[in-house]
Subunit: 273 residues, 2 copies
C-alpha cells in the first residue's frame, strides 16, 4: 500500500474531491473473507471501467486477516489517487487503497421474521456508464435512505425514472414468480451486489428487465439480500408515506424465501433461522 | 473550523465515503474573493437541499484572506462529516469544512482567440434532487473529461439523455440567438455556476429549456464561462470524434461574445482581451 492503509484521504484525493473511486464491504469471519473472489473481481472490473489500475491481488489478499477474531466488516476504498487538472485525469494515476474494519452483528431476527420495506420517492437516474459499479458517488442512496427514520422500516425500494424496480438502498431484491427467483437487470442504474453475482452464477436467480412494482406485489415471495446481511424475507411492503400496505407475505420455515436463504447463507457462513 | 481546515478527510467522512457533500472553487485576487456572495449562497442552498447545516458566514468569510497575494483558487469542501449507519444519516450531523489554496493563471489567450470544443459521448443522467448543486458526486464529469486528451480541445459539450444541451464538463454555456443570450435550464442535471447565477440576476442571460444542438449550431455566438476562467468564446465545435466540424464562429473585438465578456470580466476583475 505504500502509505498507511488506515490513513485518511488528502484533500486532493480524487475520491474525496469527486467520488472518483470504488468501495467494497466484505464480511470477514475470524479473518476469513466471504465471497472474496466476487469482491475482488467487482473491484477490478470497476477500476477497469473507470480507467485505472486495481491493486495486485496479493495486496488485497493481505487485508482480511487484519480483521482478527469474530465477525467484522472490512471496508475497502480504492480511489484514482491524487493528480490531474480538475476533472482531467492524471497522465499516470497512482490509485490509493484504504481500508477500515468495523464490528458486525447480523440481524438474526430479520432472517427469521422478515422485514417491512417502503417505496422510496426518489427515482434513480439512469447512467449506463456507471450502472452496476459500487463507486463512491452515492448521494442518491443517501437521499433515498433519508426519506424515513422509523426503525420498523428496514429498507426502501428504489425504482428508476421509467418506474422499473431496481434495488433497495443498500441491498438487492429478488422475487419468486412461477417458481423462479428473479432480480432486476442493472445495466442502467443500481449496484450489482456480490451475493447477487454469486447467486446468478449458480443459476439460482435470473435477471429480468423492465419489471414494475405490480410484478413484485404479485410475487409469491420477495427478499432483500446482500453479502453482509444475507437474506431478509420481506413481510410487508408499504407505499411512500407508509399509509398503504401494497403487499404482505407470510414467512414460515417452509415458505419460498427459505430456499434462497439456504443457498445464500451457506455462501456467507450465516446460520439458517 | 474546530479541526485544522487543511487536514485531510478521515476514512469515515461521508464526503470521502459517499460524496456526501459540496464544494466551491473561488477566484481570489490578493485575498479578495470574487462572486463571494454567490459562492456562499450556493453552498448554503446546497447544504439545505442535502439536509445539513452550512457553516456560519463568518467562518467562510475568514478563508479568502488566507490565499495571500496574487491570483489564487480557494477550493472549499463541505461534507456532512462522520457518523450514521451506512447511508443512514447521523442523528445530528457535524459537517466538516476543509479548504485548499492553489495558484492560478487565467488563460488570457482563450479570452482573445476563443477555443475549440467537442461533443461528449456521455449523456448526463437526470436527477432533479441533485440538479444544479456543486456536490461531490462528479464521476460523470470525470468520465466526460476523459473522452479526449488533445490540448487543442478546451472543453466538451454535455447533453442529457433526451439530447438537450446542458453544460460543458467544468463550465456553463450560453449562446446568442436573436440578440439574446440563452443558457440551459438546469433543473434535471448540470451544475448551476456562480457566474451564471450573477449573469442571470443581471438579466444579461435568460434560461431556456429543451434546447438541442441545432440551436447552438445556428447561434450567432457561443460562449463557455465560469467564475474562475471568465468567458471563453467558442470558435469551433466538433463532433464526438473530432472528425466533423459542426459549427464555426468568428471572434473579433466587436463580435457578440465581447458583450458577455465585458460584463462577466467586470464581475471577476479579469481584463478584457
Amino acid at each position: 500500500m505504500g502509505e498507511d492503509g488506515r490513513a485518511g484521504f488528502p484533500l486532493d484525493d480524487r475520491g474525496a474531491a469527486y467520488g472518483d473511486g470504488l468501495f467494497e464491504t466484505v464480511l470477514v469471519r475470524d479473518g476469513e473473507p466471504l465471497l472474496w473472489r466476487e469482491h475482488c473481481e467487482r473491484l477490478e472490473e470497476g477500476a477497469a471501467r473507470l480507467g485505472f489500475e486495481a491493486p495486485e491481488r496479493a495486496e488485497l489478499d493481505a487485508l482480511p486477516a487484519r480483521a482478527g477474531a469474530g465477525e467484522k466488516i472490512l471496508k475497502i476504498m480504492l480511489t484514482r489517487g491524487s493528480g490531474g487538472r480538475g476533472y482531467a485525469l492524471p497522465d499516470v494515476a497512482s490509485p490509493r487503497l484504504r481500508y477500515r474494519i468495523v464490528a458486525f452483528t447480523p440481524a438474526a431476527q430479520r432472517w427469521r421474521e422478515g422485514v417491512s420495506m417502503r417505496l422510496c420517492r426518489l427515482r434513480l437516474a439512469e447512467q449506463p456508464l456507471l450502472a452496476g459499479l459500487k463507486h463512491l458517488n452515492r448521494l442518491e442512496n443517501v437521499l433515498a435512505r433519508s426519506e424515513w427514520q422509523s426503525p420498523d422500516i428496514a429498507e426502501g425500494l428504489l425504482r428508476d425514472q421509467h418506474e422499473r424496480v431496481v434495488e433497495a438502498t443498500a441491498m438487492n431484491v429478488a422475487w419468486l414468480e412461477n417458481g423462479r427467483w428473479l432480480t432486476p437487470w442493472l445495466a442502467r442504474c443500481g449496484v450489482a451486489g456480490t451475493l447477487r453475482r454469486a447467486l446468478l452464477a449458480q443459476g439460482l436467480v435470473a435477471e429480468v428487465d423492465d419489471a414494475g412494482l405490480e410484478r413484485l406485489v404479485k410475487a409469491s415471495s420477495l427478499c432483500l439480500f446482500n453479502s453482509v446481511q444475507g437474506v431478509w424475507p420481506v413481510q410487508r411492503l408499504f407505499d411512500e408515506t407508509c399509509s398503504h400496505r401494497l403487499g404482505r407475505w407470510t414467512i414460515t420455515t417452509t415458505s419460498g424465501q427459505r430456499e434462497l436463504q439456504r443457498e445464500a447463507h451457506s455462501l456467507l457462513g450465516h446460520p439458517l433461522p
